[in-house]
């Protein structure tokens, strides 16, 4: 009787709901590309002023393409997962393509983020763009 009414009620579904998607959890528990690229071509950081979180991304470029991107993040699950997935998204793309990656790309690659966590994806994007700008500046120098 209780079981039947449980099955019938929406709460039965709702109760399963997780804070973070499976992909975000995976990137958080097994982050890809942690650390710094050795002798990077570009390095960039961004902070989330709302909470003091910080991400630094370093990149290596060959023939205008990102061959390697690594990150360090001091921050929450969303911040770590965003940076992790972004280093994967960036690898193999041209610098211009990588700079075009936005928070929407990060969020959809993670299968969504909780409300109010959009700033975390934005921080990862900010760090990558800063790294790519840095690389461009250094290349011209």
């Amino acid at each position: 009787m209780i079981e039947r009414s449980e099955a019938a009620r929406p709460e039965a579904r709702r109760e399963q709901q997780d804070l973070y998607s499976a992909a975000a959890v995976d990137h958080f528990t097994s982050p890809r590309n942690v650390g710094g690229v050795e002798e990077p071509d570009g390095k960039g950081s961004d902070t989330n002023p709302a909470c003091g979180d910080r991400t630094t991304i370093t990149v290596r470029l060959r023939d205008g393409r990102v061959t390697e991107a690594r990150f360090r993040t001091f921050g929450c699950v969303a911040a770590i997962a965003s940076a992790s997935v972004l280093t994967e998204l960036a690898a193999g793309r041209t610098a211009a393509e990588a700079r075009a990656l936005g928070p929407g790309d990060v969020i959809s690659a993670l299968g969504g983020l909780p409300e109010r966590k959009e700033g975390c994806a934005l921080m990862a994007v900010g760090a990558l763009r800063a790294a790519l700008v840095d690389a461009q500046v250094r290349a011209r120098a």
Partner: protein
């Protein structure tokens, strides 16, 4: 749900099965409104009266001094708003109208701020030392001619520090100022007797001692001037109107009675488990910073900061392994700032971000604690290793 280890009893406690059963019985069998004078109403009234006696007995109070509320937040609001409303603070007299500490719960802190903004109440905030203790002399210094109320909590919900409310109360008495203490984290857990403690108002909350959420009480010492915050049908002798949450009040009363019976044994048992956590963490994560007072703290509270980590990341990682703990900097709840308590005890913002609170309870076992102590260090290490140049300034 897989087997889990719940270590967040300061946030809320599961409802005692006997309490849940008593409440279910009321829900099923007691249809009346306590204000009605026929049989069903009298029965509901009798249940409310019994619960009032149970709550009063646990605190050494008279039943007439207990006002039921919808929780700790309402109790705090009623105490502060009610006393200041009854006293109509004098805008010209010197000094603050309200004195609080810097580590109060938001229910006190935000109420003080709200009154400052909307009701011309002047507020003085007394600081704490590195262990989170208020110095009663600072309270004495803060009191002015206009001061009508002091509100300083008993046990802090984040770092567990216990305030010298007896001394603060004596200061208040000497100066003729009403004294409120938010004892949400202590009543039901530590001895609390209004016959010996110089307090005038005390906030109590059922869900911190195995009662239901959404019901609490305010102790109001006889003769204390207080106005109501919520006006209406005149229940609770006009001090807090609205049809009584009969099942919830029965739950509060039973939970209070059971908590009092078990109190001393539980405090000792939980203190032992808590100390096992304190020592275990110290041994396994040497960088851990203990927050709160080393000895003057709630028996169930172990709290730390782990530099280079961030609270939410710690919580989620532990949750994934089946442990429920909390942090003063959980940024999901929309609070992106590290907690005001951690900043008040002088921690750097970045250290404060890595806070973790572990609070044991009645059902916690040694093996729960040991499982937690085994799970924690690799998680701290993993999160720390991801973090960018911990403790240094931004590279931007």
């Amino acid at each position: 749900m897989e087997r889990r280890v719940y270590l967040d009893h300061a946030a809320t406690t599961p409802v005692d099965p006997e309490v849940a059963e008593a409440m279910a019985r009321v829900l099923r069998e007691v249809p009346g409104n306590p204000s009605s004078i026929y049989a069903e109403g009298r029965r509901a009234r009798a249940l409310v009266d019994t619960a009032r006696e149970e709550v009063a007995a646990a605190m050494g109070a008279d039943p007439s001094e207990i006002v039921f509320t919808s929780g700790g937040t309402e109790a705090d609001n009623l105490a502060i708003r009610g006393v200041l409303k009854a006293h109509r603070p004098d805008p010209d007299a010197s000094g603050p109208h309200l004195v609080i500490s810097s580590i109060e719960h938001h229910a006190v802190l935000d109420t003080a701020e709200d009154l400052e903004r909307h009701a011309h109440v002047r507020v003085a905030v007394v600081g704490v030392d590195g262990t989170g203790r208020v110095d009663p002399r600072d309270v004495a210094d803060a009191i002015g001619e206009a001061t009508r109320l002091i509100s300083i909590m008993h046990g802090n919900n984040e770092i567990g520090t216990i305030q010298p409310i007896d001394e603060i109360g004596r200061v208040a008495r000497e100066r003729g100022v009403t004294f409120h203490t938010d004892a949400v984290q202590t009543v039901g857990i530590l001895p609390f007797d209004v016959r010996t403690l110089p307090v005038d108002l005390v906030s109590v909350n059922a869900h911190k001692f195995y009662g239901p959420k959404g019901v609490g009480a305010l102790y109001v010492r006889k003769g204390t001037r207080i106005a109501t915050m919520q006006t209406g049908g005149g229940q609770e002798k006009g001090r807090r109107t609205g049809t009584e949450n009969v099942a919830g009040i029965v739950g509060l009363g039973s939970a209070m009675r059971i908590a009092t019976e078990r109190r001393d044994g539980e405090a000792e048992k939980q203190r032992r488990l808590r100390d096992r956590i304190l020592e275990g963490v110290r041994a396994r994560v040497p960088a851990a910073v203990l927050t709160g007072h080393p000895t003057e703290r709630l028996p169930n509270n172990a709290s730390f900061c782990f530099p280079g980590t961030q609270g939410e990341a710690l919580i989620v990682a532990l949750d994934l392994e089946g442990f429920s703990v909390s942090s003063g900097s959980a940024c999901t709840s929309g609070k992106t700032e590290p907690s005001h308590v951690l900043l008040a005890i002088g921690l750097e913002r970045e250290v404060a971000q890595g806070s973790l609170r572990v609070t044991v309870g009645r059902d916690t076992t040694e093996s729960d604690v040991d499982a937690f102590l085994a799970a924690l260090p690799p998680i701290v290490e993993r999160i720390r290793s991801v973090s960018a140049e911990p403790l240094s300034a931004s590279a931007r």
